[in-house]
């Protein structure tokens, strides 16, 4: 590591005085974030490609560097149930999972949201079986779209680390759980320079938690008993209202983070969209590739912009309006397919833009499904194809070849 670091440009080693950067995988970056947040209760069950988060935290627990409890549960369902119970006693909680593990949690995800517990979870996006596989695909977390969790899609390890810290701050104000999605391998296992903030900095940004004890072991009760229809409606409505406030809150927290740590992401990120004739919309790790592809296109004089969707739940309607209304065309790339419905991000964008008078033509592409590569060339093709088209098709276009 030292040798590798020695070869790095100074910018990487010493980022604006915030300490030395480290070469870390996305999973290690997440583990660092959890440790920095002083999370006292971690309940998890190993699953590829999330396991190294669990391993790293377990290692720190064994060496005494991690203060708190690592619960080795017998399933992801139990892991989530443990987080819910612990969270209600007023402590910060964390879990990580992927794919089938997330699917197994499904029932408990609804409970976590219904119990209004500010649990933070990292889901390493892995294809959901069948067939069996381990590669990057967003369908696992998108399948949990309606569970009442916030969802953030991260471009790289640094962003994952920062988003974990931000997510606690947001979740603990609205009492809603937050899921941070990172792409299998492209984020989880790629090793990149990551700035790990100092503990004091994080403590100042995210003070040790003092949540109210809503569940008291000395006064046992039965959580979530049967309620009347009216009560159910009330609780759902309250959760919905809380979720509606998240976009603004997330922007504020990100802004505060930027001031303190020198990095920020926004709920969406617009790049070169002002004069763009087509805006490519991306999520997760494909964004990095798109940055390169769009840079190349711009050098050729082709007016292409980029919109990175970072927050997916709640869907950042206002930010999307601001970024896309008045544009001629957008090309939405979905690394997922809701069979029979097309790309899920595209559906969401269509719904979000429907009421705006000057919304762009929306072109839908499905690429990178099953962990296939989204190369700069794929993005280039998508951009050019959108430029050439006059009317968007109803059905998405599948990119079946990685190379031209």
């Amino acid at each position: 590591m030292r040798n590798l670091r020695a070869g790095l440009p100074k910018k990487c080693r010493d980022h604006e005085g915030y300490g030395m950067k480290e070469f870390l995988s996305g999973n290690d970056a997440v583990a660092h974030a959890v440790k920095l947040c002083r999370t006292p209760l971690i309940a998890a069950y190993p699953i590829t490609p999330q396991t190294s988060i669990y391993e790293r935290l377990s290692g720190w627990e064994a060496s005494g560097q991690l203060k708190g409890i690592m619960m080795r549960t017998e399933s992801e369902h139990s892991a989530m149930a443990s987080c819910i119970a612990a969270s209600l006693t007023g402590v910060r909680t964390f879990t990580a999972t992927s794919s089938q593990g997330l699917a197994l949690m499904h029932e408990m995800l609804h409970f976590a949201a219904g119990c209004r517990t500010p649990i933070v979870m990292v889901n390493v996006n892995r294809i959901i079986s069948a067939p069996w596989g381990f590669w990057a695909d967003h369908l696992d977390s998108l399948s949990q779209r309606d569970t009442g969790w916030m969802q953030f899609y991260c471009e790289n390890g640094q962003e994952a680390l920062d988003t974990v810290i931000q997510a606690y701050k947001i979740a603990e104000q609205v009492y809603l759980p937050a899921m941070i999605a990172t792409d299998a391998f492209f984020v989880s296992h790629f090793v990149e320079p990551v700035d790990v903030p100092d503990q004091e900095q994080v403590d100042a940004f995210l003070p040790p938690l003092d949540l109210p004890h809503r569940f008291d072991v000395d006064k046992p009760g039965f959580l979530m008993p049967v309620v009347t229809s009216e009560f159910y409606r009330h609780y759902k409505n309250a959760a919905s209202t809380a979720m509606d406030s998240v976009q603004e809150l997330a922007e504020q927290v990100d802004e505060e983070f930027r001031r303190k740590f020198g990095r920020g992401y926004g709920v969406v990120e617009s790049l070169l969209t002002d004069d763009a004739e087509v805006v490519v919309v991306t999520e997760g790790s494909m964004t990095s590739t798109a940055r390169v592809a769009i840079g190349d296109l711009r050098q050729e004089g082709i007016k292409v912009g980029l919109l990175k969707l970072r927050l997916f739940r709640p869907f950042p309607v206002r930010a999307v309006h601001k970024a896309l209304c008045g544009k001629k065309k957008i090309a939405v790339i979905d690394r997922n397919c809701s069979v029979g419905g097309g790309g899920i991000f595209c559906q969401e964008l269509k719904a979000a833009l429907f009421h705006s008078k000057d919304h762009p033509g929306i072109y839908s592409y499905i690429a990178g499904v099953g962990g296939t590569d989204i190369t700069p060339d794929v993005i280039r093709r998508i951009a050019l194809k959108t430029l050439e088209s006059s009317i968007p098709a109803d059905a998405p276009e599948w990119i079946m070849n990685d190379e031209a």
């Binding site: 209004r116 004890h213 039965f222 309250a238």
Partner: protein
Amino acid sequence: MGKADPAVPVIPISYGRTQVIETGKWSSLKPQPLTMIAPCREACPIGTDIPLFLHFIERGRYAEALSAVLKENPFPGVCGRVWFHPCEASCNRAQYDEPVSIQMLERFVSSIKPEPVSLIPAPNQAPQRIAVIGAGPAGLSCAYFLALLGHYATVFEAKKEPGGVMRWGIPRFRLPKPVLKKEIGRILSLGVQLRTNCRVGKDITFEELDKFDAVFLSPGAGINSLLSIEGENLEGVWNGGEFLERINALEKVRLGKTTVVIGGGNTAMDVARAALRLGSKVTIAYRRTREAMPAIPDEIHEAEEEGVAFQYLLQPVKIRRIRGKKLRVTFQCMKSGAPDKSNRPRVLPVKGKYVTLEADSVISAVGEIVDLSWIPEKLVKNGLVETGGDPRIFAGGDAVAQPRTIADAIAAAKRAAISMDLLFRGNQGREALAGFRAGTKGSVSLDAYLRFREEGKWPEAKEVVSDGRINTLYFEKSRRVVAGKLQRDKRRKTYREVNLAPDEARAVYSASRCYSCGQCNACYNCFYFCPEGAIAINRDERTRTVDLAHCKGCGTCARACPRNAVIMKDMV
């Protein structure tokens, strides 16, 4: 919980209990925690609650174990040694691996020191006075049970010390006398009056007994049957009863180098083994086959082990003194024929075939008969005591028509004591006894009777648990525990007890092998398996309470009970 913070969302938490939902009312099938009769208890003529005292031994609760035994039997130390324990033969565990060592455990519990139990007679508003004739197993037991029922018993004993066959018949190497002394002492501590050296018909008249409210006749069978052959009165020819009495009185007896014992019952075995210990070489001559011998198999086996020789199918015809020194017994050789009334093969003489045995002493032990000279004729039938007519006269033991064992004598005494008490309370019918039976083989329980007397309710008849109703999946196969015996070569030289005492660890382990057929032993299976948490168990009292408001009647407890102590019953 503190003050409600408006920023903190309220979530539904119920502090009420789901117990308000009385799911038990949804079904009519309910578990019935029962206590049934174990087959060992049914087989015990005395009706001792064997699973109960074994349970207490297992838990180390020895005082309660002894109490449980003493409720039914005043002689656990005796029965734990000298009786053929049919309980073990009927133990359900015998069908699975090997029976529980019940007799050994009875002996163990009787020898706990110091004695952890002091007996208290039940309160009785109208105590009666009862005369008991004969201080043998039956007489002493009857006095004991009467005392427990709150009556006054006076025991008349012709001999100088009480105990009957236990004192004068059974030798010390089978029943050490301090054991008997302790058990008789326990009976006397209840206030039983004992008059020794008082022979009815000589020291007092039978008519004098009239002043008592009831009489229990238990004179025993004290007269030895005669061989009725030539030479029976020669010097060196003994009768077995007289011989054993002198041995037990610690008198000096000389038999010479060789002894022939005639007979095949327990007395013959005791005689032979005692003779062996006097240094004599002993041969038992029996007129039937070994299979037909009435002695307890264990006793025959032990006699063989110690070196007693056996000769079968020999009927003595005469005894002569030869060369002025030795005795020569002439035997008619016999052969087996068709079975007789007692289902034993009849033996017939082999014409013209005789054998002789020579010995320094000959001891005959061919049975005992009852001395009836002092009893009014109306109470005699077929050479035995028969009380038919007079409701105030009861009888038991070897003098009546019943198996001549100590346990049967104790059982008869218990039946008589309860019958007397019922009589005094104006409850004439002796068939009332059926209400206190332990099983269907005639044993009655004093404990059940006392509870009836206290509560005034007739007990419900209880079923006997058959082997098929035990869930053997819960039991690991294991070997029966056997207590040690005195080394064989030592036995010939000493009167020390042959069967050694079990140590505590072996006794506790042995007790833990009991299935506890039909009786809760607080194994907690039902408690753990009940999906409703509707069963409460009192470990000490071994009582189970079912919360009927929440028991859904699934029957899991009945299925999970290894010992058939829960059954499902439709309450509609």
